[in-house]
């Protein structure tokens, strides 16, 4: 039995009167490459926000493993990292943001610069995502793919156990998308990955399990190859969505 990192049980959530999520059940195992997919407005981002504790569950629970002690143990790459492009901020500043406000020392009080230790930490995170640029480069001077790498570096800067990405490739060109997946696969050796995506390539070639969310959740274990998409087959997204939505067993059934 694999170690369970996260357990979502009977989770329901509504913003107003309509339920956005209803009776969601799934477990996230250590070193999973877990994909969450589903139609727009199906509740994917809401589910992520619940896991991140930005929103609080109204019904049901989200249990985290003991190894996840604080929010610093979860890395997060938000959607739309192309906003705020004109902001004067360097690669180093963005990466360091991942460390949070926890490190309060006297030195920090007197100095708005980073300590050498902090800079080394940022450098190692950037190296992990394959970014070899001048730390003072302005974030707007990077390409979309490079910027996304910096966002991933920011997310892994605090050495999280779990990395959550919300549509990480939605605003990047195809070449850049492949690079990001390769990187995620590499990171997956050490970190559990949870990714929200519409992208067939990720679901079929990288994820080992996928949760289809459209108010309700349908869990699929891709290791059983039941839903592995052959590269030569021309699947459109709609077909895959239908397949995942209809043929999936509700997790409750799978657990019993």
């Amino acid at each position: 039995m694999q170690k369970t990192l996260l357990k979502v049980k009977d989770l329901s959530f509504k913003y107003d009167k309509e339920y956005v999520l209803k009776d969601i059940n799934f477990e996230l195992y250590d070193k999973d490459f877990f994909a969450i997919t589903g139609p727009n407005g199906g509740g994917k981002s809401t589910l992520i926000k619940l896991i991140l504790n930005i929103l609080k569950p109204q019904i049901g629970t989200i249990e985290l493993d003991n190894s996840i002690k604080s929010s610093l143990d979860i890395g997060y790459v938000p959607q739309n990292t192309n906003i705020n492009l004109e902001f004067p901020i360097s690669v180093l500043d963005v990466t360091m943001m991942g460390n949070g406000a926890k490190h309060k020392t006297l030195k920090r009080l007197l100095n708005i610069n980073y300590t050498n230790l902090e800079i080394e930490c940022a450098k190692s995170s950037l190296a992990k995502v394959g970014m070899q640029v001048d730390l003072n480069t302005k974030i707007s001077n990077l390409s979309g793919g490079q910027r996304q790498r910096v966002m991933i570096a920011r997310a892994i800067c605090s050495h999280p156990k779990l990395l959550i990405l919300d549509e990480p490739t939605s605003s990047i060109d195809i070449e850049g998308q492949k690079e990001i997946y390769k990187l995620l696969k590499e990171l997956n050796k050490d970190i559990t990955i949870l990714v929200v995506t519409h992208d067939l390539t990720v679901i079929s070639n990288y994820a080992n399990r996928v949760l289809y969310v459209n108010q309700e959740g349908f869990l699929h274990n891709l290791k059983q190859d039941r839903f592995r998409v052959n590269k030569d087959e021309h699947f459109c997204e709609v077909e895959l969505m239908q397949m995942l939505g209809k043929n999936g067993e509700n997790l409750m059934g799978e657990q019993n």
Binding site: I54, P78, N84, F87, P88, S90, D93, M97, N136
Partner: protein
């Protein structure tokens, strides 16, 4: 111009211009990157309500205007947490109601014939010792605040949701930035007036933003550029006997235009 430096009121004016430029550069940078220019505009105009109240009750003008502006800033912050998508309506309301309150109280003040123009367009040549002390205190407060909380402010300004996830109280810092904006607006009123204060906080910062790769650098450059604008405007104002606030803004607008054209040519 050199002999003018012997006059105390000219010395005071230069000192005020530089101090106001420093805070306008720093806080203006925060306003610009947080896209709060319209919020600052609302606060600036509402502070006239405080000026009116101060005149009516015989209080120091700076005190009345500061209290009223800070009060408006807190109201705007609270509304923005609850009803972000309708915020523009409330800014418009605070903008107009503040000015209306100011005008009514000035009308009610017996025998007082207030020079409204000096508040609308600034009266830097009439800066007093108390004004300078108030400005100096604000400069110190702003510098301490920025130095202590730079990383938190940076995180909240760049990506407030992420900052919140990392344990930074985004609402607290957002409110604090608004309160400091309110105080900055109040001291800048003396130099350029409340109509032009937003231009003083956006023109230098907009230029600085494009030549900076860090928020800290942007703040320093903004403060320097703003100082150049205000001092140059002041000299022109003295030489040609024109309103100082308007002269400062036109200097800024000219530099901004030249900067933009050069940037276009180089690109």
């Amino acid at each position: 111009m050199i002999e003018a430096l012997h006059y105390t009121f000219i010395q005071n004016a230069l000192l005020a211009a530089i101090m106001v430029s420093i805070v306008a550069g720093i806080i203006g940078s925060l306003i610009l990157v947080n896209k709060m220019t319209f919020l600052a505009g609302g606060i600036a105009h509402s502070s006239y309500g405080g000026i009116g109240l101060a005149i009516y009750f015989g209080l120091p003008i700076f005190f009345g205007a500061s209290m009223f502006a800070v009060f408006s800033a807190i109201i705007i912050a609270l509304i923005s947490f609850k009803q972000r998508h309708r915020l523009d309506i409330f800014i418009g309301l605070i903008w107009a109601v503040g000015m209306a309150i100011g005008i009514v109280f000035v009308d009610l003040t017996p025998g007082y014939n207030v020079d409204l123009m000096s508040y609308l367009f600034g009266s830097i040549l009439a800066v007093s010792q108390e004004d300078l002390i108030f400005m100096a205190i604000l400069v110190v407060v702003v510098l301490i605040f920025i130095h202590r909380f730079y990383k938190e402010i940076l995180a909240v300004s760049y990506d407030s949701e992420y900052a919140t996830l990392r344990g930074i109280n985004a609402k607290f810092f957002f409110t604090l930035i608004l309160i400091l904006s309110a105080l900055t607006v109040v001291v800048a009123i003396k130099v350029v007036g409340l109509i032009l204060v937003i231009a003083l906080m956006t023109m230098p910062t907009y230029i600085a933003e494009q030549i900076s790769n860090s928020l800290y650098g942007m703040m320093i450059k903004s403060a320097i550029i703003a100082s150049v604008f205000t001092v140059t405007g002041l000299i022109i104002s003295y030489q040609f006997d024109i309103t100082s606030g308007a002269a400062i803004i036109l200097v800024g607008a000219t530099v901004l235009s030249i900067f933009t054209i050069i940037k276009k040519i180089l690109a």
